[in-house]
């Protein structure tokens, strides 16, 4: 089976149009091609839209499998918890003077006030850490072989769903609402054959581009199947 190999990826920070070259191995045909619009969207490692990430490994990945897209929820979706975190960190500077004015704080033992304040800031830090981790580890991966949906719902519950490209029947995308339209993010619904579970990429950037790229991969898979059933 012909396999493609990523030959070179240059991502100079100052370069507006990153250069990505894919090359075939031993003169075989390319298995997939990246859409030019996607190549312009290459993000850094903490981005919510990373094209051809080089240092990403996921559980169950084949050695000859190439990760094409690593997607997370759009950064804008983090704004509510960031605002809440800022309020949490600022709250003591508002509440403490009020408690002093009400003569409540001086009545408390110094140790309790100190540990209580430390606890508040630690708990706020934990809130930030957890929200960042949920965002960072809830990823959607598109490879040349499959799509993977890694969901981390809570501390004790996570779910990993995969679907082979050859098992995908239909791909559609949805963008609804003002904020989603302005920032170009939405859902991609991936319908799989038979009893397999459908996969939903939620709130990802550029859903139309992602859907088109998956459709291209489906066509490439079909061609490969025709040549080498």
């Amino acid at each position: 089976m012909p396999r493609i190999k990523v030959e070179e990826i240059n991502r100079p920070p100052s370069s507006p149009a990153p250069e990505v070259k894919v090359a075939n191995v031993a003169g075989s045909k390319l298995k997939f091609s990246l859409k030019p619009e996607i190549l312009k969207k290459i993000g850094d490692r903490l981005s919510s839209f990373v094209v051809m990430p080089q240092e990403v490994k996921f559980q169950g990945e084949d050695e000859d499998e190439t990760v094409i897209l690593l997607l997370r929820r759009h950064v804008v979706t983090n704004i509510p918890w960031i605002i809440a975190a800022v309020l949490l960190f600022l709250a003591p500077s508002v509440v403490f003077p009020l408690l002093f004015a009400a003569n409540v704080l001086p009545a408390l033992p110094l140790g309790l006030s100190f540990v209580g304040a430390l606890f508040w800031y630690m708990a706020s830090t934990t809130y930030v850490l957890l929200n960042f981790l949920y965002w960072y580890f809830n990823v959607y991966i598109v490879t040349d072989e499959r799509v993977v949906d890694v969901d981390w719902y809570s501390l004790l519950f996570r779910r990993v769903a995969t679907a082979q490209i050859s098992k995908i029947q239909d791909v559609s995308n949805t963008i609804g609402g003002v904020i989603r339209s302005v920032f170009d993010f939405g859902n991609v619904h991936i319908e799989t054959a038979g009893e397999l579970e459908n996969i939903e990429f939620e709130d990802i950037p550029h859903p139309a581009l992602v859907a088109e790229q998956i459709q291209d991969l489906m066509q490439a898979e079909e061609k490969e199947w025709e040549v080498n059933p």
Partner: protein, 78 residues
């Protein structure tokens, strides 16, 4: 010290002992939570490994240590 003062003092002592106990139990569960976060991050790093995975692991370990120190501080100061 009158009897009323003694009772008031005893009640106050019981109250602060209760507050300390409450804080210690709260911080103990908080410490357990931080360990669960560290364990879960380990598991997630196995599911998705990136080049900043070691850094994230370090952050959650530092977080657990900080919570442990807070627990000890509460034990000593409250």
């Amino acid at each position: 010290m009158s009897l009323d003062q003694l009772i008031g003092f005893t009640n106050l002592f019981t109250f602060w002992a209760f507050v300390k106990l409450f804080f210690l139990v709260l911080l103990f569960f908080y410490f357990v939570l931080s360990l669960v976060i560290a364990r879960q991050v380990d598991l997630m790093n196995q599911v998705l490994g990136t080049n900043i995975s070691p850094f994230i692991r370090l952050v959650v370990i530092v977080h657990s240590v900080a919570v442990a120190i807070l627990f000890l501080l509460a034990f000593a100061l409250v």
